[in-house]
């Protein structure tokens, strides 16, 4: 019993950054913009948060400032993606991939001097976990019960229709992309400030990619994202547990999340989940184009 409760607690703590990043990606994709840069934005967020907390001396008072810095870093990176894909109408997949590579590289380079430096205060995890679940509920509420949500969803489904009714399509897309990036940054900050208060290059460890895959797995639904994140959190936990006990090389376990992503995408394909994708996903919008 205790074992199970412990596993669940760990699953929640692993699942928290997944959930936050996944919600950001859901918001992005619901307005029609794919952002594959989640992993890169998480790394930038993790570094920005850590740098601020570290640089300003370690104290709980600065935690929220550090979190804010992480979100800002994520949002700024996302806005670059926004400019390239929304205004310049470049391919969203290519731009997102570039953002991931750029973000990982830049964070690695800039973070050299923080490598191995610990933060002394470890804040509790639960406020973040609860916050993430609250955010999922909030996002679902916004999507399905508010005028803003209706505009968001319409822009992702049929931007021409939204435009015809006076909705600022590009504005909505920029806003959603920025907030999505801020959430990816927040997920990164959770890793470097809360989960393991330290900075190591590559500490995002593919979580961003799993968050992106999770979006499809949960069918673009913020509520289902909660369960998806906990499920994947559990898998992560099991991976760590088994790693210590069996004689299997650790590389096998390290590659497990990616194998799972593939499995999950295959499963969602079988379930016809892809059919839930917003109609205009990945398509730039230009007014008056027939």
């Amino acid at each position: 019993m205790e074992e199970i409760l412990n596993a669940l607690a760990r699953a929640l703590s692993f699942g928290t950054p997944l959930l936050i990043a996944c919600l950001g990606a859901i918001l992005n994709e619901r307005v029609g913009v794919v952002n594959l840069g989640v992993e890169g934005m998480m790394a930038l967020g993790a570094l920005a948060g850590f740098a601020l907390a570290f640089g300003s001396g370690v104290g709980d008072g600065n935690l929220w400032l550090a979190v804010l810095a992480a979100m800002l870093a994520g949002a700024l990176a996302a806005l670059v993606h926004g400019f390239v894909t929304i205004t310049l109408r470049a391919n969203q997949f290519v731009s997102g991939l570039a953002l991931t590579m750029l973000g990982l590289g830049a964070a690695g380079l800039l973070g050299k001097r923080f490598e191995g430096q610990p933060l002394f205060n470890q804040p509790p995890e639960w406020p973040f976990t609860l916050g993430a679940i609250g955010l999922a509920l909030l996002l679902a509420f916004v999507f399905y019960a508010t005028k803003i949500g209706l505009s968001l969803r319409s822009v992702g489904e049929n931007p021409a229709a939204a435009d015809l009714l006076g909705i600022n399509v590009l504005g909505v897309r920029y806003a959603a992309v920025a907030v999505g990036g801020a959430l990816a940054g927040l997920a990164g900050a959770y890793l470097s400030l809360v989960y393991r208060p330290s900075w190591t290059d590559g500490m995002t460890a593919g979580l961003g990619w799993i968050a992106v895959a999770l979006v499809i797995f949960v069918g673009w639904s913020p509520l289902r994202a909660i369960f998806g994140a906990v499920f994947f959190g559990l898998l992560y936990y099991l991976q760590f547990r088994l790693q210590g006990q069996s004689g299997v090389p650790s590389e096998v376990f390290a590659s497990l999340p990616y194998l799972l992503v593939i499995l999950v995408l295959a499963l969602s394909g079988l379930r016809g989940q892809q059919g839930n994708a917003p109609e205009a996903l990945g398509k730039p919008y230009r007014r008056g184009e027939r």
Partner: protein
């Protein structure tokens, strides 16, 4: 008459290869309905798009109540009190009717729920019935058109533009719309009305402005206009409106439908035991208000939808539910949704014209395709149907609505089809093109083809069909020989009455 509410001055808009609007000037006064007429591709929708902030004019100015205005976006247009019912439904398919109507004007919380009473009030008041909870992608084009009209009414406007609003409405619905237009007119609003149906224009418009190849060729008060005169001005030649059927040469039974049962996309019964026969050389008209099972009937016959029960035989053989094989057997399909079902919008006119036959010689040579064959075929079809397109390599989405329809007709009616499933075949076509399509359909029947003609245009049905049947809530009434049923009786059957 005082000051015009809206005035356009020397509006010019060029696209690669065409001048869509060539120094167009016009004005609309308060309490007036202006009809905008012209052939397919004359530039009507382009002018409207400029007025609504979708296109930017290359030259020219717009004045509202005498003041020059810049309309850079639809939001600007809405703020200036301009409303639009676009030519093609622009709705979010996956959302419900209520969600679509609440977009942009709903309450901050629960917009889709709170707007339902408003929708119902408008639906009741004007006789435009729609189910607020239905997902839009399951609606027929006619129902979508109703949603668009209700949307314009919900928003209110000083200048209301209606781009071919009646092309898929029943006569009753069109009459309801005209009533709405008269009320708006009485309230001092200005209306711009685009239509290819000249009877409607003569009935509702105060003035007519005729465009030809992007230029205003004439502007005259309706009392001075007549059908022949307007047609002459639009097309530049005289058009005959007589389409009497020469003696039909009925052949063998071509299509036999027995007790057909089908479910709709909403998984509700759409056809509840439909039976009829169609003979070679015959035109069987199917009348009915959109959403009474017409779409499902045609989809089954085109191999696009599964039947739940019953039997369909084509020339004695059970129907194979495969569109490509059906086409090979001579079943042509002119679908109701011309943009998404009838064409691939981003492919060229030449490619769209070869969609049915690209895998055969001369279009295919082994694994390779033969561009010369595409070009030769396209040149011939474009000429035969007078498709107005800058070139055969232009993507079909850039064509005007009527010209897209011509591309579909040219493709489907090529060769020797045995059974033609024609859904609103003249939807959005100008009078010259309509005349031509009617002529082609008749010619095909003389060559032994059977035609199933689904239309909400009773004039068209009565002038072309040999027999007419009416679909109401998934059941078929008739068929009745055309001479034995009146227009009024058909109208009654369409709304569930007894003839």
């Amino acid at each position: 008459m005082g000051e015009p509410l809206l005035r356009l001055q020397n509006i010019t808009k060029r696209f690669p290869g065409v001048v869509a609007n060539d120094s167009v000037s016009l004005e609309v006064y308060p309490g007036e309905v202006l009809a905008l007429l012209g052939e397919n591709g004359a530039g009507k929708s382009t002018l409207i798009s400029i007025l609504y902030g979708l296109y930017r004019p290359d030259e020219g100015e717009i004045f509202i109540e005498g003041r020059p205005v810049k309309i850079a976006s639809p939001l600007d247009a809405l703020r200036l009190g301009i409303g639009l019912v676009p030519q093609h439904p622009t709705l979010v398919g996956r959302h419900t009717v209520a969600e679509n109507l609440a977009l942009g004007i709903g309450t901050p919380l629960l917009p889709a729920r709170r707007i339902v009473p408003l929708i119902e009030r408008i639906a009741q008041g004007y006789g435009l019935h729609i189910d607020p909870k239905a997902p839009v992608h399951q609606l027929s084009p006619g129902e979508k058109q109703r949603v668009e009209i209700v949307r314009a009414l919900l928003r209110g406007a000083k200048v209301l533009i209606l781009d071919e609003p009646t092309s898929v409405l029943t006569p009753q619905e069109a009459e309801a719309l005209f009533q709405v237009m008269r009320e708006l007119k009485a309230a001092g609003k200005s209306l711009i009305f685009i239509s290819h149906k000249l009877e409607e224009v003569l009935a509702i418009a105060d003035r007519c402005t005729v465009l030809r190849r992007g230029r205003v060729v004439s502007s005259l008060p309706t009392p001075e206009a007549s059908k022949t005169k307007l047609a002459q001005m639009m097309v530049g030649r005289s058009v005959s409106f007589e389409r009497k059927r020469a003696n039909p040469q009925m052949g063998e039974v071509l299509l036999r439908v027995e007790d057909l049962q089908v479910r709709s996309g909403r998984n509700l019964p759409a056809l509840r035991g439909v039976s009829f026969e169609l003979c070679a050389g015959e035109i069987l008209g199917i009348a009915g208000v959109a959403g009474n099972g017409q779409s499902e009937l045609v989809e089954v016959l085109a191999g696009l939808r599964k039947m739940e029960g019953g039997m369909v035989r084509l020339a004695g053989q059970p129907l194979v539910a495969n569109p490509a094989r059906l086409f090979a057997q001579g079943v042509a399909h002119i679908p109701e949704d011309r943009i998404h079902m009838g064409t691939v919008p981003s492919m060229s006119v030449a490619e769209n014209l070869a969609l049915r036959t690209f895998h055969q010689a001369p279009f295919a040579r082994g694994f390779l395709s033969n561009p010369a064959a595409y070009a030769a075929n396209a040149e011939a079809r474009v000429k035969e149907y007078a498709v107005a397109t800058p070139s055969i390599h232009t993507p079909s989405r850039l064509l005007s609505g009527g010209n897209i329809q011509k591309v579909i007709l040219a493709r489907e009616l090529a060769g020797q089809p045995r059974l033609i499933l024609a859904v609103h075949p003249t939807y959005g076509l100008d009078i010259g093109a309509t005349e031509q399509v009617h002529r082609v359909l008749l010619e095909k029947t003389y060559q032994g083809a059977g035609v199933l003609l689904v239309s909400e245009d009773l004039e068209e049905l009565l002038s072309l069909s040999d027999r007419i049947a009416v679909l109401y809530q998934g059941r078929l009434r008739g068929p009745y020989p055309v001479g034995q049923i009146s227009r009024e009786q058909v109208g009654l059957l369409m709304t569930g009455g007894e003839a």
